[in-house]
């Protein structure tokens, strides 16, 4: 009760001190275009945009305003260029439908661009027929919340990204849906970003893409049916938790692609039906805990230069290959995982198999060396030599073993992510 009272007082105080007005924009109103509304508005005013179609582009918001759409008004850019550009702090966009962003090969036109501004809130937007969706440029402390972005991208070279962050810090991207663009969400030189509970699907290239971005978190997202689920490249200290990577299934698709990643934490994720679950290259000191790898072609493909990684308490179930490795050297630890291909026994009933499990099969070693041999997948001969390699390993790394394989899958409590 007391807090409510306090809040009420605070609101009253704020309202009094700012003296915000509401300007109504509609086709038959005194102010019939958004540009005009922005021009006459004072700082901290609200523009209430009524239902209708507004054929406008290059709307420049240069003062702290709230643009509030009522009953989904449509802003149609007629493919002439950028639609909304925010160059001021404290701007809120809410409830607008923005369509027909111009396509250009020299300028990255976006539906909404935020330039060198802070404390913005972009929510409940619907973006369609776009080039770039929401583009943040050197902007900090904002929130992108509950937007629906649906592109119609066909080729990578003439399409843009759904949500792009460039040199931006402390941004929350939450509960957005991004479909059919080039990269669903793209981060470049952006630190301390939280990407939570988004759904990114059917994108041409990546569902989520990190480049040179550090200390970021993504949690509870779903990446389905993308060219590749998530690509994390040249970044440090990224936390990847409780995400689902599903059906990134194609001749060169990945669930998760790691390249030059250090000190990351990958836990509680589910990788299901991807051609390659995780493709790892040059990545060190990463913890893989409590992940599920189900029905992938390759659950994990290690390409090389990967040291001091730990794989613990993961479930590897029904993958064609559990782990592919291309060298004889191993510095990674596999411990206490569940492998559905494990055929050992547990005589002392302590829950761990008594004989160690070797996750790298000879066949996967051969396929790595000579990819064409994959045509012999599931042949009797391969089963025989896999068996003989299992009995006495010659080609596969000698110390790549799970010495304590679990007899039963790890049951993962589904942590409920804050909504």
């Amino acid at each position: 009760m007391r807090t409510l009272l306090l809040l009420f007082c605070a609101l009253l105080f704020l309202g009094n001190s700012l003296k915000a007005n509401t300007i109504t924009v509609c086709a038959s109103c005194e102010v019939n275009s958004i540009k005009e509304g922005v021009r006459i508005a004072a700082d901290f005013d609200t523009l209430l945009i009524k239902k209708g179609t507004y054929k406008e582009f290059n709307i420049r918001i240069d003062k702290p305003l709230t643009l509030l759409g009522e009953n989904n008004p449509v802003i149609d850019g007629q493919e002439k260029g950028e639609i909304i550009t925010i160059v001021s702090d404290n701007v809120t966009l809410d409830g607008l439908v923005i369509v027909n962003v111009g396509t250009s090969y020299t300028a990255d036109y976006a539906a909404v661009r935020v330039v060198k501004s802070a404390d913005f809130l972009i929510q409940n937007l619907v973006l369609e027929k776009l080039f770039f969706g929401i583009y943040l440029e050197k902007s900090n402390n904002g929130k992108i919340y509950r937007n629906k972005i649906k592109g119609d991208a066909v080729d990578e070279y003439n399409s843009g990204n759904g949500i792009q962050l460039w040199y931006s810090k402390n941004i929350v991207v939450e509960q957005n849906t991004v479909q059919q663009v080039r990269d669903g969400i793209y981060l470049e030189f952006s630190d301390n970003i939280s990407i939570i509970n988004n759904i990114s699907s059917k994108n041409l290239r990546y569902g989520l893409h990190f480049m040179f971005s550090n200390d970021d978190l993504y949690e509870g997202n779903t990446f389905e049916n993308n060219g590749a689920g998530v690509a994390v490249m040249f970044s440090k200290k990224i936390k990847m938790r409780n995400n689902t990577f599903k059906k990134n299934w194609g001749t060169a698709s990945f669930g998760l692609l790691l390249k030059e990643i250090n000190d990351a934490d990958i836990s509680g994720n589910t990788f299901e039906e991807n051609t390659i679950g995780i493709n790892i290259e040059g990545s060190n000191r990463i913890n893989y805990n409590n992940n599920n790898f189900i029905k992938n072609g390759w659950a994990i493909k290690v390409r090389g230069a990967c040291y001091t990684n730990t794989f613990m308490h993961n479930n590897f179930m029904y993958n064609s290959f559990d782990i592919a490795y291309n060298s004889n050297l191993n510095d990674n630890i596999f411990k206490e995982n569940y492998w559905s291909n494990y055929t050992g026994y547990d005589l002392d009933k302590n829950g761990f198999g008594d004989i160690p499990y070797r996750p790298v099969k000879l066949f996967s070693y051969i396929v790595n060396r000579t990819p064409e041999t994959i045509i012999l997948l599931r042949s009797l001969f391969m089963d025989i030599i896999d068996f003989s390699e299992k009995v006495s390993p010659v080609f596969t790394p000698d110390d790549l073993v799970d010495s304590h394989p679990l007899m039963k899958p790890v049951v993962r409590e589904n942590k409920i992510v804050k909504k």
Binding site: G297, E372, T373, I375, L376
Partner: protein
Amino acid sequence: MIKILKYSFYDLMRSRWSYVYFLFYLLLGFVLLFLNNDLSKAVITLMNVIIVLVPLIGTIFGVMYFYNSKEFTELLLAQPIKRSSIFIGQYLGVAGSLSMSLVLGLGIPFVMYGLFESNAIWDFSLLLITGAFLTLIFTALSFNIALSNENKIKGFGYAVLMWLFLAVIYDGLFLMSLIVFEQYPLDSFSLAATMFNPIDLSRTLILLKLDISALLGYTGAVFKQFFGTYIGVVISFVMLGFWTLLPILRLSFKAKRKDF
């Protein structure tokens, strides 16, 4: 020819081995479905069984039947019947009854577990069709071997060796050659090499229909085109047809000229 076919067919239908074979598949089907209850997964497991067992049984059965019915064949030869129709009639009788055991033995449990409502029906029919093809091919090959060898022991030996070669050794040599020549582009070669072994051919044909084909396409453009489109399926079926026809043609050709 029809009469001889009918005679061989009924003869085999009465024999104990057809029932054993039929019951084996019936049991296998039920056990598989009982254990994992998932039609599409059972289809994959079944594939492993079919591509190994069906050729073996076709081979052994063909050779055995040919030697066993030798006296009857000689009796028939004394009659005014065309030679090719005697042998082809017998061949079709054996292959037909084996295929029927296979199709019914596996079909009944799957139908009972609701195959028609499931979307695994195409995978399953493909499996049965390739199984039937493998029976036809290997019975024909074993008839050829038996016809060319008067000595039963030798004939059996060759037949088992042929199975062993096509099921295991061929893949071994194939793998060796791929590794030895890994510096060269191998896509077309490996596809061609698959075509020359009916077991490999059926295996890839079934893999094509399963989701796993994306794994194969990973390797290169030629694979991608072959496994990603209908071209692969069409070519594979045509080759299976050739594999069936050629031994039958040789059988009738040899039979006409052989001095009994």
